[in-house]
């Protein structure tokens, strides 16, 4: 049996940052990822990473902006941890070799971002996540950290409430492996593939959320899904950095409509506000073929070519528009999960000893009901590091125990049953596509009781069909069909939580906008929602929000 002190599942920014921290703390660490590390979704992050580096800025100001951005649902103790750590963590990345764009004085450059009171977003042109991901991978190489790449983890194994390790398929051979560990850090990213036109990589299928949920761990705040204001027609993202650099949003009348929705911040209001404004403009007939125009020409061609090079190429390749010459057609696109597996400020699960969560898979609740741009990479870096350190400390204090033998046997039996099903059932793709369409249509930017109730029923009907799904390829060597089938199982479970959470929460807060309950309701709903797996779908509960400094106020930009 494979055994390591600390197993990290997922090799994106949070996972690799955790691996580096745990290794540096003296633990024997291994990374397990279904893709090669540099293929991870972190590479898609364009705009940057927030930290109060400037002399006039402060972590308190960063904290306030984040709390307000979260529509007061973020836990302020956790946000404080993140904002305080940010400058030191970013300097550590710089010392590891991460290339950042620079000011003339040689210091790390920062640009304005939505919902922030200060130009606080450090960046590398429009490839910030990409350079961070590559820097982490190179640091992993430097340390010789063991890497199981293209291994798909199917389950988190708990024994008596204690994490013992995972079961994984080596995709190269198709073999199942038990992987024992004293501590498991799960950093597998989001589940945004429950939606059509998502900005996310095809691989963002909620594997870690799904395996935690099946193991009985609670998910939190799943109804909060961020729609990014500037997606291209196929969901591919155009960074908020475009607006930070001076790009403007125009409707079909050529009007800078954001002035009406956010008189002070305009285009740089927080993402939920801008996305809803765009959706309203489009719905009221002021879109152009269902799109809003993002005009980068005020930035000037020279700065576009240096700081927004990738944006220019994507715009030309996908929209057929050179942003130096014409506006880019964009629309809101499903982008980020504020919710995830409930975890504390060291990534620790409150219910499963030895299980840690970091990055988008987790809900440490630093983003609350709406995340600010530039805070996701920061979340991954800070809580990746902290969970790696905590996992190493946990490993140092505990004995290595073997995985229960049944773990692999059970998984083998499940896969054998799947492979042995009748040959004329439907395949996973039709189910996944239907799920994505219905979530986009009924659990999207605007939500309403009737449609949400339908969505819950429809997801459950899809789950029934999924129980009879047929495997489209039975071979062992690099079978890409098998993980896709398992991923779709995760997506269905998680979509059910999203839809149910959205139905239950009868208020509008952050990204969750109910047309039938348009106001925020702090009396009843100033609380987190929890989802634990029951026999007939999720069992819903709530948990209190931690407020330390800033009492809820009316939120305007």
């Amino acid at each position: 049996m494979i055994a390591h002190e600390v197993l990290i599942i997922g090799a994106g920014l949070a996972g690799m940052r955790a691996a580096i921290a745990a290794h540096d703390a003296g633990a024997d660490v291994a990374l397990v990822s279904k893709v090669h590390p540099v293929r991870s979704h972190t590479c898609c992050a364009q705009g940057g990473i927030n930290a109060a580096l400037g002399d006039d800025d402060s972590w308190e100001a960063h904290l306030f902006d984040t709390v307000k951005g979260s529509d007061y649902l973020g836990d302020q103790d956790a946000i404080e941890v993140m904002c305080k750590a940010a400058p030191g963590d970013i300097r550590a990345l710089e010392h590891m070799g991460c290339p950042f764009s620079r000011f003339e004085n040689g210091r790390i450059a920062q640009r304005p971002f939505g919902g922030a009171g200060f130009p606080r977003t450090a960046y590398a042109a429009d490839i910030s996540g990409f350079v961070l991901l590559h820097t982490m991978y190179e640091q992993v190489l430097r340390r010789g950290i063991r890497l199981y790449q293209e291994w798909y983890v199917t389950r988190l194994v708990l024994d008596d409430g204690v994490a013992r390790g995972v079961v994984a398929i080596d995709l190269l051979t198709g073999k199942l492996h038990a992987m024992a560990a004293k501590a498991v850090v799960i950093a597998t990213g989001p589940a945004s593939r429950i939606y059509q036109s998502s900005s996310n990589s095809v691989d963002c299928t909620g594997d870690g959320m799904g395996m935690a949920y099946r193991a009985g761990l609670p998910l939190m705040d799943m109804e909060f899904v961020q729609f990014h204001p500037t997606g291209l027609r196929n969901g591919v993202l155009i960074t908020e950095g475009c607006r930070g650099e001076g790009g403007i949003l125009l409707n079909s009348d050529g009007e800078r409509f954001m002035k009406r929705y956010a008189p002070t911040k305009g285009e740089l209001a927080s993402r939920d506000v801008v996305s809803r404004a765009e959706a309203t403009e489009i719905a009221e007939g002021r879109g152009i073929d269902g799109f809003i125009m993002l005009d980068l020409r005020p930035i000037g061609p020279e700065r576009i070519r240096t700081n927004l090079l990738q944006v220019r190429e994507l715009s030309m390749d996908i929209a057929g528009v050179d942003p130096c010459e014409a506006p880019i057609p964009i629309r809101p696109t499903p982008h980020y999960f504020m919710g995830g597996v409930r975890a504390g400020v060291d990534g620790r699960s409150p219910v499963a000893e030895g299980a840690y969560f970091a990055g988008e898979v987790s809900c440490i609740s630093v983003h609350g009901a709406n995340r600010l741009g530039g805070n996701s990479l920061l979340d991954a870096v800070v809580f990746g590091r902290r969970s790696g350190e905590a996992a190493a400390a946990h490993a140092a204090a505990h004995e290595q125990l073997p995985l229960p033998e049944s773990a692999v046997r059970d998984q083998e039996a499940e896969i054998a049953e799947l492979a042995g099903r009748d040959g004329d059932g439907e395949r996973q793709a039709t189910i996944r596509e239907e799920l994505q369409k219905l979530m986009f249509a009924k659990v999207g930017i605007w939500r309403e009781k009737g449609a949400l109730a339908e969505a819950v029923d429809e997801v459950r009907a899809l789950k029934e069909r999924y129980a009879r799904v047929r495997l489209g390829h039975a071979g062992a060597v690099f079978n890409t069909e098998l993980p896709q089938v398992l991923e779709t199982g995760n997506l269905l479970d998680l979509a059910e939580c999203v839809a149910m959470g959205a139905l239950d929460r009868e208020e509008s807060r952050g990204s969750h906008a109910r047309t039938d309950f348009p106001e925020r309701d702090d009396e009843v709903w100033m609380k987190h929602s929890l989802f634990t797996r029951g026999d007939d779908g999720p069992v819903c509960d709530t948990a209190p929000v931690t407020i330390t400094r800033y009492e809820p106020e009316v939120r305007t930009y």
Partner: protein
């Protein structure tokens, strides 16, 4: 056909000829043909995903981000290594149609294989690496070579606990930014003639990574990095064919970056015998024929050891079969220019007419 974004625009019809291989079936690689219809604007990757999800679940390929930043979907399309996700289906269908038209004009029957008949878009795994299954290649050696250039910042002055960041001007950032956007997809490596001829050659991707660190002002190990790469299988084995630059889906000027690395090596006095011979061969070739002669370059640079062998991989042996290249028509002018350049001062400025 998947649903179209804009139903008003006619769909693209395409015949894909995909190179299939499954070690579990124990057979040789074969071509398989899929006739598909996709919405206008579809990429090759979208077509492959449609085939895998709705037509043939056994088709294997890698993919993730869909917009040319993760580097997963490198493959050869119509003979050239590219990313499937930023290659438009209409563009490669047009290529295939032009190829079919040329074949029919030349009255050749083309290929025997029925899967390749007509204007089929050919999709194959990347070259210069073993195939695991279908379009999935074993990139182990590729990653090992990348690791061999020690792609991490090295500095004796690493003040990791310092209060501030290390300074770097916007210009210094811009210098390394030219090499930052390499997504490590393997397209340049796949089609690199020098790797094909000498599989130990470190390859263009690793040299781009080496450039990024050698030119990083925060790194103080440039000399050692260059020393390591000035030896056997290092930078001097590049044949200057520029295929890497042509193939790069991120438009990196790969060969130019390798050249910048070589310049720095020369400044550091790390010009090896092979490098000197290569430069001499380059000049001699120009003077003789007015052309860059890849054949002599590869030989002189030591990339092709043991003389010209019939066992060389196809593109290299094809190139060598051409024998000595015909001089260009006004080769005398080239020779006169070369003579001037060799003249007093030996800089173009003084000797030029």
């Amino acid at each position: 056909m998947p649903a179209a974004d804009d139903p008003g625009v006619p769909p693209v019809t395409a015949a894909l000829a995909i190179r299939r291989y499954d070690p579990e079936l124990g057979d040789e690689a074969r071509w398989q043909r899929y006739e598909i219809e996709m919405p206008a604007g579809s990429t090759v990757l979208e077509a492959l995903m449609y085939v895998q999800e709705h037509v043939d679940g056994s088709l294997a390929f890698r993919r993730s981000c869909r917009h040319a930043i993760c580097g997963s979907c490198g493959m050869r399309i119509n003979g050239c290594a590219r990313l499937a996700c930023n290659t438009q289906l209409t563009a490669v269908v047009a290529e295939a149609e032009r190829r079919a038209a040329r074949r029919s004009a030349a009255a050749t029957s083309g290929d025997d294989d029925a899967a390749l008949a007509g204007a089929a878009v050919r999709i194959e795994p990347l070259g210069n690496m073993p195939v695991i299954r279908d379009l999935v290649t074993d990139m182990t050696v590729f990653w090992e070579k990348l690791r061999s250039v020690q792609p991490w910042l090295q500095s004796l002055d690493d003040r990791a606990d310092a209060d501030g960041e290390r300074l770097m001007t916007p210009h210094q950032y811009a210098v390394i930014a030219q090499g930052l956007l390499c997504v490590e997809c393997g397209a340049c490596y796949s089609d690199c003639i020098a790797v094909e001829a000498a599989p130990e050659f470190v390859g263009p991707t690793s040299l781009v990574k080496a450039y990024r660190y050698a030119y990083d002002v925060r790194d103080d190990q440039a000399h050692r990095r260059l020393h390591d790469l000035a030896g056997e299988h290092g930078m001097w084995e590049c044949t200057h064919c520029y295929v890497c630059t042509q193939r790069c889906p991120k438009h990196l000027r790969v060969r130019e970056l390798i050249g910048r690395l070589s310049e720095l090596a020369q400044v550091e006095g790390l010009c090896s015998d092979a490098a000197v011979k290569r430069s001499q061969a380059f000049v001699a070739g120009i003077e003789q024929s007015g052309r860059v002669d890849e054949r002599t370059l590869a030989e002189k640079a030591g990339a092709v050891r043991g003389g010209v062998s019939a066992a060389l991989p196809a593109p290299v042996s094809e190139m060598l079969r051409g024998g000595a290249r015909e001089p260009i028509s006004d080769v005398d002018l080239v020779r006169r220019v070369a003579g001037r350049l060799r003249g007093p001062g030996s800089t173009g400025a003084e000797g030029a007419p």
